[in-house]
């Protein structure tokens, strides 16, 4: 069997980027599963794609423009109704900047 392609440090780094607080057990299981899935993805590397344009959207799209006309936006209370925590007309969150 080949050496594991993703190290525990890799998984920890990716979990941090993805903002997922995973336990050590979860991290280890994730490492094993991602390694197996990425092994399968290796079949893509066998294809020669030199000179092939990437497709990020299946249909050709140009910018879709409209007149810039002011119109009422969604009601503030509607938008705040699902907030886990609010303070008047604002969303409240835990501290972002250290004192």
């Amino acid at each position: 069997m080949a050496a594991p392609r993703i190290s525990p440090e890799d998984v920890r780094h990716v979990a941090r980027l993805a903002r997922l607080a995973l336990s050590d057990d979860e991290l280890e299981r994730m490492r094993a599963e991602m390694s197996a899935i990425l092994d399968y993805m290796d079949k893509l590397r066998s294809l020669d794609t030199k000179g092939v344009e990437p497709t990020s959207h299946s249909i050709p799209l140009r910018n879709v423009m409209r007149e810039d006309e002011p119109a009422p936006s969604s009601a503030l209370d509607d938008m705040l109704a699902n907030a886990p925590d609010r303070d008047g007309d604002t969303f409240r969150v835990p501290r972002i900047i250290e004192e």
Partner: protein, 485 residues
């Protein structure tokens, strides 16, 4: 019983006065109450909404002014489509209490057409899965065998139509999430061309692939609803300004003289021999109806799955970044700072498969791996799309199996890669953005439905539906119903 009827048949009953929308709504609500505890298709049942909308439809028919072919017909929606004032969970703990402040465009159009909303349907969390086993809440059962999965991710939508718990339902398809469950549950499931139907208010999974479509009891019903939900939308710039034809009228004409391609690569080692036999027999039926069938090659088919499971997770990792516990959804209390709050909230709110895909996508997009994984997947996507362009130079439509096998047992597929392989025949179409429909093409000896897939050129749903309709008329698979008592 009204609940056995499809949309078109039910609409005809409303028009000739032999039934009223509120009767149909009550019939369906009673059936849901009796049978859904077994099938578990519904996440939320909305009897008050249904009865109020049905009463309004009653009044329109009484006044001789119904709105159109869908007026008064009872439908249900996959819980990924936002419904104003009605909880929309997306099958996830993170949205368990989410009540959308607006309707998806599809939902608005269906409401304006006079349809009656019975409720919201179960699904794999964030539409990631092929069985509904990834729903954070419960697994939906296949009405043909309650020990088996209905397919996914729109499993609730497929099961509800199969069990006659709605006249039609709506789902979403990113890599096969309409067509695969339609095949497993023996109904008609249509994924329109990417860009045909607005995605506004559809909770995003992979934005370059997601598309809304119907589950119906007949191909004619799919044609009727597509006309209602299709078309440009100022709220979604990818909903293309391509004219929407009268799909129902376009069903006439049959397949005589039509050129139909059979892709060599869609008959693979390890596929269920009963599925292969049924699909080959369906090709014979189409030939008997006058279609010219020929073998075509889609050589990059086997690479589609790998490309999809990089592109989908990459887009998902970005789309799901919005679930940060700030504006809506779950928030875990007690965090010291915002990063801890976000990280703990997301860890608690997302299930295993969603986390796996967020991790995979984040990895594939991260510095040092971007080109080798994501970039290569996008180039392979081009090759897959070119295969279809090549094939469609000589044929008008492609006919293939929807899935390599039939509905599997609940709990049978634990390995994520094994689960992904379910989508091997539906993914290439999704990558290329093309329309595809699955319709019943027989049953295994054990009595499980087999799906036939018809694939067409971009925006040519009319031909796809015409081929499907011709096959449906020549066979009677669609008339079979599961026994549920």
């Amino acid at each position: 019983m009204l609940a056995a009827l499809g949309l078109e048949a039910l609409g005809a009953r409303f028009r000739d006065g032999s039934a009223a929308p509120s009767e149909a709504a009550r019939d369906y609500l009673a059936r849901i109450e009796a049978l859904d505890p077994k099938v578990r298709a519904f996440m939320t049942v909305t009897p008050d909404v249904a009865l109020a909308q049905a009463a309004e439809a009653d009044a329109r028919f009484k006044a001789g002014a119904p709105r159109g072919p869908l007026d008064g017909v009872p439908i249900a929606l996959k819980d990924v489509l936002c419904t104003r004032g009605i909880r929309t969970t997306c099958g996830s703990r993170i949205l368990e209490q989410f009540v959308p402040p607006y309707d998806a465009t599809v939902v608005r159009r269906l409401r304006e057409a006079g349809t009656v909303l019975l409720g919201k349907l179960n699904m794999d969390e964030f539409a990631m899965g092929s069985s509904t086993e990834n729903s954070a809440f419960f697994t939906t059962r296949n009405p043909w065998d309650l020990g088996r999965v209905p397919g996914g991710s729109s499993g609730g939508s497929a099961a509800a139509v199969a069990a006659d718990l709605a006249a039609a339902t709506f789902g979403t398809d990113t890599g096969g999430s309409i067509r695969q469950p339609a095949a497993f549950c023996g109904n008609v499931g249509l994924k329109p061309t990417y860009g045909r139907v607005s995605r506004y208010g559809l909770i995003a999974f992979a934005s370059s692939l997601d598309q809304v479509g119907p589950f119906t009891k007949t191909v004619a019903d799919a044609a009727l609803v597509l006309r209602v939900i299709a078309g440009a939308d100022p709220m979604d710039s990818t909903a293309a300004a391509v004219p929407v034809p009268d799909y129902r009228a376009a069903l006439a004409g049959g397949v005589a003289g039509l050129r139909i391609g059979i892709p060599r690569e869609y008959f693979i080692d390890g596929m269920d021999p009963e599925v292969e036999r049924a699909v080959r027999a369906a090709v014979d039926v189409l030939r008997g109806l006058g279609a010219k069938t020929e073998e075509v090659s889609l050589p990059h088919t086997e690479y589609g799955l790998a490309a999809y499971y990089l592109i989908g997770p990459a887009e998902a990792s970005s789309n799901l970044a919005r679930y940060d516990g700030v504006k809506y959804g779950l928030r875990l209390p007690g965090a010291r700072d915002i990063v801890e709050m976000e990280s703990r909230t997301r860890a608690a709110g997302f299930g295993k498969e969603v986390k796996r895909r967020i991790m995979l996508g984040t990895y594939a997009l991260s510095a040092g791996y971007y080109d080798a994984y994501y970039g290569q997947a996008l180039r392979v996507r081009t090759l897959v799309a070119r295969d279809f362009q090549q094939a469609f130079q000589t044929v008008d439509a492609i006919v293939a199996p929807t899935t390599p096998g039939v509905a599997f047992k609940i709990g049978e597929k634990e390995d994520p890669l094994q689960m992904y392989l379910n989508d091997v025949f539906t993914i290439p179409t999704s990558l290329a953005g093309l329309p595809g429909v699955s319709l019943p093409a027989g049953f295994t000896l054990a009595g499980l439905p087999i799906g036939l897939q018809v694939i067409g050129k971009a925006y040519d749903e009319a031909t796809v539906l015409r081929v499907a309709h011709a096959y449906e008329r020549a066979t009677d698979w669609h008339a079979r119903k599961p026994t549920l008592s």
